[in-house]
Amino acid sequence: MKKDIILAGVGGQGILSIAAIIGQAALNQNLHIKQAEVHGMSQRGGDVQSNLRISAEPINSDLIALGKADAIISLEPMEALRYLPYLSKEGWIVVNSVPHINIPNYPEESALEAEFAKLPNVISFDADAVAKENGGVRTVNMVLLGAASMILGIEDTKLEEAIGDVFGRKGEAVVETNVKAFRAGREAGKKQMER
């Protein structure tokens, strides 16, 4: 078991909660983990990423090498493409199709779509909409995690358990909402994969 994952988004979108849950699930299974995060200036609305590595064997580098990532999970389309050189040729992109536009020269949606069309393994869907229907807008991270769960190499039940561990302090209701969003995301992801 060895997975290298890049989590991508814009400062303030909260990619770290996805990382926290995958990390917790890996910890519960006694796997090795390294997870490099971005703190500081770029958190003010700049591009942010986290390199998450999990493995049954000890891990050396905190960073993922070019062409080695098994997946890019991104809360926003352009940010998914920023890390393309790191994605393995067989790797997956799981992406929220709703753009986060806070710069004047954000590319046209069609240009982004054309880029995704060139890639073999992409799960792209409106995660905001799924979140709104299920747990509310703040659960969009869990929706995306759900959609990515099939390619993480960690059982769903373990991920749900980890959601409980991470959100447990905030109460049972919060855990349930997030698990619900996670499951809805998984369904949405499955549908996309089958297409």
Binding site: K34, Q43, G46, S61, L81, R82, L84, P85, N102, A111
Partner: protein
Amino acid sequence: MTDKLLLLGDQAIALGAVHSGLSGVYAYPGTPSTEITEYIQENKLARERGVRSDWCTNEKTAMEAALGMSYIGKRALVCMKHVGMNVAADAFVNSAMTGVNGGIVVVAADDPSMHSSQNEQDSRFYGKFALVPILEPSSQQEAYDMIRYGFDLSEEVGLPVLMRITTRMAHSRAVVTVGEPIAENPLHFPEAGVANWVLLPVNARRRYREIIAVQDKLEKMSETTRFNSYKKGGKKGVIACGIGYNYMMENLPADSDRTILKVSQYPLPADIIREMVEECDEVLVIEDGQPFVEEQVRGLLDCSGKIRGRLSGELPRDGELTPDNVAAALGVKEGQHFDVCSTVVPRPPALCAGCGHRDVYSVLNEVIREYPDHKVFSDIGCYTLGALPPLRAIHTCVDMGASITMAKGAADGGLFPSVAVIGDSTFTHSGITGLLDAVNSKSNVTIIISDNLTTAMTGGQDSAGTGRIEAICLGVGVEPEHVRTVVPLPKNMEEIRKVIKEEIEYNGVSVIVPRRECIQTLKRKSRK
């Protein structure tokens, strides 16, 4: 009892320190070091024990407080980002001169690639400069273990110990096995008396000779420490320092026969390196930051071409190490990967929507447009982002507190208007003394202290002068009618415009304090 926790490098250091019987952490927030102190502030055991963990006014006050705590026998930790070492340098270097009683570990967090900093300076130079041992962990586990080792070492040799980390160590999580905490040191004074504490020349000369005399011992310790290791192999050698070791291991095949020296403790183990260079045809130095080791090993006169690294071009001269540039240096063939996607554009950080600094800058821009020769000297914090379009409101950002003194210098030279923009936390960090200079020479400057009641850039830590900014300015001697407070909200623009205009026109020192809480801090508070 042992426990497995998923910790950032910073957190591993923090917990390691608490478990080493820490009595106080002294720090000023700075990326990537901030999370060390924050973790101790929240840690249960630290709270129970009453470990001191309030934020300090700046890195120098932090270093000095730690030294005071050490003199009475207790263990103290000092944390800062690399440029904070410049501020603390006087106290740091002289803490080696006086020596310590209770252990002191100083953590300097370097930021190669300048993710959140204005330079790439390598703190290891400070350790060598002060002639103290330097520790550089290669993993989060090592960071946890090394802190206790560092405190023991500090007490054994009577010197502060510098722990140098880089961004990737500070801000990367890994599973750390933690052990049992030990008790704090009791209050006790050095057996030899306290003459070392008075650095009059007569004592300082003696102390300096003592520090020089202990260097051989420190070097021997670097040969035997469990944190350094030497594996003899073939004719190709690698010296891998700190996290450079990980990038090397990531790339070397399991059956590689390279001769490898892992360095996590300095001064460099010179005898081992001598042997290694003699037996190898080539020695590659992998180190994050500046070529600190490469330069020492190569020396000025070595023309053999054997020593390779950042200076010889195997590794880039600037920027952080990555698994990819280390792979190239090791001659590992690059694998296939996708090209950079040309549709992607940069997404620079920006001031938050609704941030008070935005209002300050938009009205300042309007007023100052009438004065074609104006310059706005600014400082370090969120408001530095005001340099970027569309605001483009400031013309400098150099070091903490420099805005006020640079505006003074420019005004002294005849610039009008000469404006400074500084945040509240940066003002108390290093701006007050500059303000006193300006007052004393009656310089014609307009100083805007944009007060958001927090240290926002690093995530909202307490700011040392909250609630007392005007009182400080008055105390320093700014005339009361030229200390003006406003609230930066769109509805107050007219009033603020008038105030700025009046104070620019006043020939002397004036201070304007636009005050509105950082909206991120406000949000966090309302969530609690």
